[in-house]
Amino acid sequence: DQQVKQNSPSLSVQEGRISILNCDYTNSMFDYFLWYKKYPAEGPTFLISISSIKDKNEDGRFTVFLNKSAKHLSLHIVPSQPGDSAVYFCAAPGGTGANNLFFGTGTRLTVIP
């Protein structure tokens, strides 16, 4: 049962435009969310996070928005650059023990020059 869902497997955007990647979750107990970026043949790397007490967190060209009532978060990249082409995973901590991260299935972003 997927607790974190990314319903768009791929997204193509022109360079300079905005990229919006979406993520939905089912567990209302999640109180923190993370976005990871993954290039081919590399491990995922942390990109940006947001606490559930906030509705927005911004870091340079990257902004994450959280809508708790809709159990939805989105990652905005403005302006998009060809180097942003990667797979993006949203994740949320949960579970007992060592605080596992539940990952979505990922969205492959392609930024077209």
């Binding site: 990314q6 923190y32 491990g43 790397t45 942390f46 991260l101």
Partner: protein, 114 residues
Amino acid sequence: DAGITQSPRHKVTETGTPVTLRCHQTENHRYMYWYRQDPGHGLRLIHYSYGVKDTDKGEVSDGYSVSRSKTEDFLLTLESATSSQTSVYFCAIRNNWGNTGELFFGEGSRLTVL
């Protein structure tokens, strides 16, 4: 970059053979994890460790075992590999406890079971 090394990076093996993947860290982090990444599933936790000799199961642990005899090494073993275990395996580490800590991932080990 977090000091995480996975070996081997690529392996092809036959059904029924044992396979061990190694994760080595130089960060002295307490928590270590093994994930697998498959199309349509994202990353799923196999096993994790919260200290030397302290390990526990994740959500997809069947067919896998782990060992951690030293802080720096976390081994993932497939006792008898099956084709369903063809995947990319990622090791991750974390130092702090609590929900706000991020995981640092290794570069992955691609395993093909024929």
